[in-house]
């Protein structure tokens, strides 16, 4: 049914030679020691040649003969009673398929944590971009005309836009140790602050898109841009009343996700599938940028109220934190986002008495969801602002204060988790401070602070700022235990292995590092390891590609599978896998290895009391940013960022650096220019011309320092890298703005308007 240009996963020519191997032997990684054996050069990005020549096939590149074009009719009101759909009788509806909730054969729900979000509205509209009906037409002109011929009859209802005024709670969490009230009363100094962070759009450059193709068995196959095939699969089954085998999900090349393609693709897929079912033909549901920005999930806005108690000598004695997140109209992943936000809200700092309370509230705005960092960037911004303000109040350097506070081996977190290994907060802090010459530069910028000599006369001011963060590796709490992720490693009769997993490539390098891990274990080349296509009829559920868990958790499973494969072959043949696999295959036939997640040793979390090991271990990140601030216009230029990130073990230097650099720039955007203006529950700047992200000219030079403090629970020691840089970029930039101007910006982003207002207030 689908024809596509020839593609290949191998380089198009022998001239794309990989660097010569130093030694043919495998790299043996000892998680608690150094790399033994000879390191071989990391492979180039596996699908790189396809992406660089235009041969990679993204969803909108698929040619599907006979496919119609789909569109979504959305509410234009934030909260209303839905009374009916009016189809203009003057329009020729015979050439269009219309789907409403009445056409849903299964349950009218796109379930995530709660089953609260309908596929299509039946009675109550809860946000302005809510899907009410679907249309499909043979070409775009007819589709556009049909959209214009649809009217919604509604009756407006009062809407809530402020989470602090909402009485509908999606989730709440509370963690704590000690007695905060007593400790706070005994503190020499209490610093209080309220911090507000707004929506942030993932802004993957490839919009959401799905193509649904009816199957002969009455089911549907969807091809699309997604992070989690096994989220889309159950969504299709439930809404379309399909069996496991009738719903098939195939990932196309995915042009960025950043969390934005974690759960929303389920909605796009179900919509496309309903249209395809009714039309009896394939339907393309490809969003344009305007629709993507106005309807899809964003980073949760949050209000964080924070009280920090310290002694004169700088000792941290109490933290009392209240987090309120805006979940939007439906629950989506909000409880888990809130949980991660709460668990990280204290920052990576030892404190005997801590209370962190969080709640996530419903508003009549489009649902918020996953975005790189998943709640932690919001709360750690507040934590870092507090640390900097305490340092200022005590006359201490922000670096010295953090050296004093940062978690060390053996310290206990607010969930009573004892940090038993892989604790590298101090190391990333020192490495970033040293590489950026933090203290020396800060001496130079000192005259600018507090409106001093440089401040009054100068039209520009320079500053340097620092931030430190921790980020729980893998899923929160008992998440991995419940997920029970699986990977398969198959060897065919020629001795060639294939990895089968549901983990997805979306730019971060999954397709490159997994063959690399298997090849290293088996003592063969990466090109001698195949990857099965991400197709739910072929690959198992390896868990979602989220939470920086893929390299760590699924990577660990793949290594364990490879070790079993190697042992099985070598035990039978008595020779190395590389020399005997094909003989084994010819004699004994193919091998199928299933590797299931086994809980990490000595990791226990109690969901009921929210105590114990919230994460098996943590990654650690520090950033130092230098900025120039135009004191007339309030504009900020971020000149440089030094980022030091502890990722456990570097599996691929170039890819890991790429994650740090990309995450750092997203954080710089969050800090300075990325602002979603919400008016009456609608995003006013819902176009790329008005929602700005950093260009190459806005981007600082980013220097990456990768620190390796491995985790012993996984064979390779890797802890994940994707989200770490997102936690530190914004507070580092805002600290640098303070260093330059003497004013604190409490709300993100630190726009010119906010900076000028703060400067005026300070004068």
């Amino acid at each position: 049914m689908i024809s596509r240009p020839p593609t290949s996963t191998t380089p198009p020519s022998a001239s794309i030679a990989e660097p010569p191997m130093v030694l043919p032997g495998p790299v043996i990684v000892d998680p608690l020691g150094s790399t033994r054996g000879a390191a071989r050069p990391a492979p180039f990005r596996r699908e790189g040649p396809d992406k660089l020549t235009g041969r990679a096939i993204y969803v909108d590149d698929l040619v599907v003969p006979g496919a119609w074009y789909g569109a979504t009719i959305r509410s234009t009101e934030p909260h209303a009673r839905f009374l009916g759909l009016e189809l203009d009788p003057a329009f020729d509806w015979s050439q269009v398929v219309v789907v409403t909730a009445a056409d849903i054969p299964g349950e009218n729900v796109v379930a995530s944590i709660q089953a609260d979000q309908p596929v299509l509205v039946t009675d109550e509209i809860r946000h302005h971009a809510e899907a009410v009906a679907l249309l499909a037409a043979p070409d775009r002109e007819i589709l556009r005309a049909a959209k214009r011929a649809v009217r919604l009859r509604t009756e407006p209802l009062p809407a809530v836009f402020d989470p602090l005024e909402s009485d509908h709670e999606f989730a709440h969490n509370e963690v704590g140790i000690g007695d905060v009230d007593v400790a706070m009363a005994g503190a020499d100094l209490v610093i209080e602050g309220t911090y507000r962070v707004g929506h942030q759009e993932q802004l993957y450059i490839e919009n959401q898109g799905m193509i649904a193709i009816p199957r002969d068995d009455g089911g549907v196959t969807v091809h699309g841009s997604l992070q989690c095939p096994y989220y889309v699969h159950p969504a299709l089954k439930r809404a379309l009343a399909l069996s496991d085998s009738q719903a098939v999900v195939v990932q196309t090349e995915t042009g960025g996700g950043f969390g934005g393609k974690e759960e929303y693709p389920s909605i796009v897929a179900v919509h496309a599938a309903l249209l395809a079912r009714k039309a009896g033909r394939p339907v393309r549901m490809i969003y344009d940028r305007h629709e993507d920005i106005s309807a899809t999930t964003k980073r949760h806005p949050a209000v964080v109220r924070y009280r920090t108690g310290v002694m004169r000598d700088g000792t941290l004695v109490a933290q009392d934190i209240d987090v309120v997140m805006d979940g939007g109209a439906y629950c989506t992943l909000t409880p888990v986002v809130l949980s991660r936000g709460v668990l990280h809200a204290g920052g990576p700092y030892r404190c005997p008495d801590v209370r962190i309370r969080g709640r996530a509230m419903a508003t009549n705005t489009p649902p918020n969801g996953a975005f790189r960092g998943f709640g932690a960037p919001q709360t750690e911004f507040a934590a870092e602002m507090q640390a900097n303000r305490v340092a200022e109040a005590l006359g201490l350097s922000p670096l010295a204060l953090r050296r004093r506070w940062v978690y060390q081996l053996g310290d206990m977190t607010p969930t009573q988790q004892v940090l038993r290994e892989s604790v590298a907060g101090q190391e990333v802090l020192d490495r970033a401070a040293e590489a950026s010459e933090f203290e020396r530069t800060r001496e130079r910028t000192a005259p600018g602070r507090g409106g001093g000599a440089q401040g009054r006369a100068a039209r520009r001011a320079s500053g340097i700022g620092l931030a430190l963060a921790w980020h729980g590796a893998g899923f929160t709490g008992s998440g991995e235990v419940k997920l029970k992720s699986v990977v398969y490693l198959d060897m065919d009769v020629t001795g060639r292995p294939t990895i089968l997993m549901g983990s997805t490539e979306m730019g971060q390098g999954t397709k490159t590092i997994f063959p690399q891990l298997v090849a290293a274990e088996l003592g063969i080349g990466e090109d001698d390891v195949d990857l099965a296509p991400v197709d739910t009829s072929v690959v198992p559920d390896s868990g979602p590609t989220v939470a920086s868990r893929t390299a760590m958790v699924v990577g660990g499973l793949v290594i364990q599978a490879a070790r079993r494969l190697r042992e099985q072959v070598e035990t039978a043949t008595g020779r190395p896998f590389s020399a005997s696999a094909s003989d084994y295959g010819q004699e004994h036939g193919p091998i199928h290895i299933e590797q299931r997640f086994v809980p990490y040793p000595d990791i226990h979390f109690d969901d009921a009391t929210y105590t114990g090991d919230a994460y098996p271990c943590f990654g650690w990140a520090a950033a130092v940013a230098e900025v120039d601030v135009d004191l007339d216009t309030g504009e900020v230029a971020v000149r440089s960022v030094v980022a030091a990130d502890d990722v456990g073990r570097v599996l691929h230097q170039v890819l890991a650096e790429g994650q740090v650099e990309g995450g750092t720039l997203q954080a710089v955007g969050y800090a300075t220019i990325e602002e979603m203006q919400v008016v009456d529950g609608r995003y006013r700047n819902d176009r790329l011309a008005t929602y700005l992200i950093p260009t190459a000219l806005d981007a600082p030079r980013i220097e990456t320092i990768l620190v390796e403090s491995p985790y012993s629970g996984v064979p390779h020691g890797a802890k994940g890298v994707g989200e770490l840089p997102m936690d530190v970029g914004a507070p580092a930039v805002v600290a640098a703005i303070h260093d330059a101007t003497g004013v604190w910006i409490h709300d993100l982003p630190a726009t010119p308007e906010r900076i000028l207002a703060a400067l005026r207030a300070a004068r």
Binding site: P11, P12, Y58, D60, G507, G658
Partner: protein, 156 residues
């Protein structure tokens, strides 16, 4: 209307409405899906192609303006059966592409910069790709890739 032009050196003739977007003509009429659509309003640069030596957003160019022109797309940067171009190879080796959706447009903006004699200077490379948004890389490795290509012999 009938529009004749060259795509990657090959003459083509299309019977299309004059206001049809060059982007759609490339992707749908000619099957050259390497050129991507990111925003459809000239903000992201994912659809950048080289039109008579100039980088343009193919989503903003109507076909009536293409008559008699030379269009270069990512598919023309290297021979399908041959090696990658030095620019593509630099992106591959240095990590200039991640998710890959901005990559074709980024490569075309970079190629136009190199064709115009651009050098390895950080500031001028950033200027040249300022119209091309990338959300994955932070641009550092893209700038490095173009800089490397700029100091290599470019006979593409």
């Amino acid at each position: 209307m009938s529009i004749g032009f060259r795509v990657n050196g090959e003459p083509v003739e299309l019977e299309v409405p004059g206001m049809r977007r060059l982007l759609d003509a490339l992707r749908e009429d000619l099957g050259l899906t390497g050129t991507k659509e990111g925003c459809g309003e000239g903000e992201c640069g994912a659809c950048s192609v080289i039109l008579d030596g100039q980088v343009v957003d193919a989503c903003l160019v109507p076909m009536c303006q293409v008559d008699g022109s030379d269009v270069r797309t990512v598919e023309g940067l290297s021979d399908t059966t041959g090696p990658l171009s030095p620019l593509q190879q630099a992106f591959l080796e240095l990590g200039g592409a991640q998710c890959g959706i901005c990559t074709p447009g980024m490569l075309m903006a970079a190629q136009a910069y190199l064709d115009a004699g651009g050098g390895p200077e950080d500031g001028s490379i950033r200027e040249a790709i300022a119209g091309n948004l990338c959300r994955c890389t932070g641009y550092t490795k893209i700038v490095d890739s173009i800089a490397r290509a700029a100091v290599h012999d470019l006979t593409v």
